[in-house]
């Protein structure tokens, strides 16, 4: 084993055990942001050392701890137990929450009636709200298991802003990708030349890509889609893909 590898293993181990000095730790955390290799080592140790924590037992938290958490994640709320709220004066971050929630609601309210008869809500759908780096919803994708269709709701305003900021030539396509939750690989689902498509028929393969995905990602590519079948760095939006149960609406 080379000295360098020994050093990498040792430093990752000490980071996870917590014995790096504060300056070493700060330096290492910077390295973790750019080095996949170091992150993989840290993940290795975290995964294995967890077994030691699992014998910690239990200690009931203070009665007001949850209230404090709820107040922090939802600063506009008067009541610590209040659910999602909206209102003027919220931070950009909270505005993102509202936008995302609103988009989910729009997806549920506007798209669901198109795909369901009123009394026939599918048992399982997959929903992803793809947002840009500012937290603005760009695309909501709802996949129905019943008919292998993806229903698309584009947010033209958000996309227009993205277009203005893009350095990619106007002759371009949008490409939707799925990030697999099994192997982390990114695979293409569809290429769009415009945002007029409201539905996308999925075949068996692309349907599985959706159901197996942790994230959906939208990128801008050269016209006709990525030639190398890999997403460009022109990331427009991304969103968690979750299995959505009808009874949660």
């Amino acid at each position: 084993m080379s000295k360098q590898i020994e050093e990498q293993i040792g430093r990752a181990f000490e980071y996870v055990t917590g014995t790096l000095s504060s300056s070493e730790r700060a330096e290492y955390e910077l390295l973790l942001k750019v080095s996949v290799e170091e992150r993989t080592l840290v993940e290795f140790w975290q995964e294995h050392m967890l077994a030691l924590d699992q014998q910690a037992g239990e200690l009931a938290p203070a009665a007001d701890t949850w209230g404090k958490i709820a107040a922090k994640i939802n600063p506009a709320s008067k009541s610590p137990d209040a659910r999602e709220t909206g209102g003027p004066g919220l931070s950009t971050w909270f505005a993102w929450i509202s936008t995302a929630m609103a988009t989910v609601l729009i997806a549920i309210i506007l798209i669901k009636p198109m795909v369901d008869t009123p009394n026939n809500i599918p048992n399982t759908d997959y929903i992803a709200v793809l947002t840009d780096t500012q937290g603005n919803a760009v695309l909501t994708a709802l996949t129905t298991a019943k008919d292998n269709l993806m229903w698309l709701q584009w947010e033209a305003d958000s996309l227009a802003t993205e277009n203005e900021n893009s350095e990619t030539p106007k002759e371009s396509s949008l490409q939707l990708w799925a990030v697999s939750k099994r192997d982390g690989q990114i695979r293409s689902i569809a290429i769009f030349d415009d945002i007029n498509s409201n539905t996308l028929a999925l075949n068996e393969t692309t349907f599985r890509l959706v159901t197996d995905s942790s994230f959906l990602v939208l990128t801008r590519e050269e016209a006709g889609g990525s030639a190398i079948d890999e997403p460009s760095e022109d990331l427009i939006a991304r969103g968690v893909c979750i299995r959505f149960k009808g009874d949660e609406a």
Binding site: E14, A51, W66, I73, V240
Partner: protein, 186 residues
């Protein structure tokens, strides 16, 4: 709680579902609070850290990658790093921590029964216990004192009356041997 359930709750947190965070909190907070308390030795501080950790879980839920780590590992790591940060801050005001008490507690931590129970519950999870037992006792104690109770190299060095650099070498050597041992068992 199964991994799939936790993954689902984290995904729902990413979609800003507070009810999902509350479910995570209800299921995991007593255990996480115990992990934080073991490091901080103060209920007030462990509750503060628990609070910080759940806010971070909420804020970072969208960045969780299940292909990279199990949900429990991700959640517990967030809590542990917040607890270590807090411990570092508090060290300036705390009386010197006594290694002896925690060293004594280590004997109870890995009783034969608990080890066997762990092995029975989850073979993979037990590898770290087996591999720790294969190390020199003093090195294994160093690792456990650091990981479980948050002791620094200096604090451990003082207890063993040896230079901090020797503790660093023990930890590094212990890490290498543990990795070798774990890799042969995966």
């Amino acid at each position: 709680m199964k991994d799939d359930d936790l993954i689902n709750l984290i995904a729902r947190c990413a979609l800003r579902d507070q009810h999902a965070l509350k479910q995570l909190y209800d299921r995991l907070s007593p255990w996480l609070n115990a992990v934080a308390f073991r490091i901080l030795k103060s209920a007030e501080l462990s509750n503060d850290v628990l609070q910080e950790a759940f806010v971070q879980i909420w804020n970072n839920a969208a960045s969780y990658r299940q292909d990279k780590s199990r949900p429990l590992t991700w959640i517990c790591s967030i809590l542990r790093y917040r607890a270590l940060d807090r411990l570092e801050l508090e060290r300036k005001h705390q009386d010197k921590r006594v290694v002896d008490d925690d060293l004594h507690a280590l004997d109870k931590h890995l009783t034969k029964d608990s080890l066997e129970e762990t092995i029975h519950k989850d073979q993979v999870k037990s590898h770290i216990h087996t591999c720790l037992q294969s190390l020199n006792n003093r090195i294994a104690d160093c690792i456990k004192l650091a990981y479980l109770y948050g002791y620094t190299r200096d604090e451990i060095a003082k207890h063993f009356a040896i230079p901090p650099n020797t503790i660093k070498s023990w930890l590094r050597r212990g890490g290498e041997k543990l990795k070798e041992c774990l890799e042969t068992r995966i």
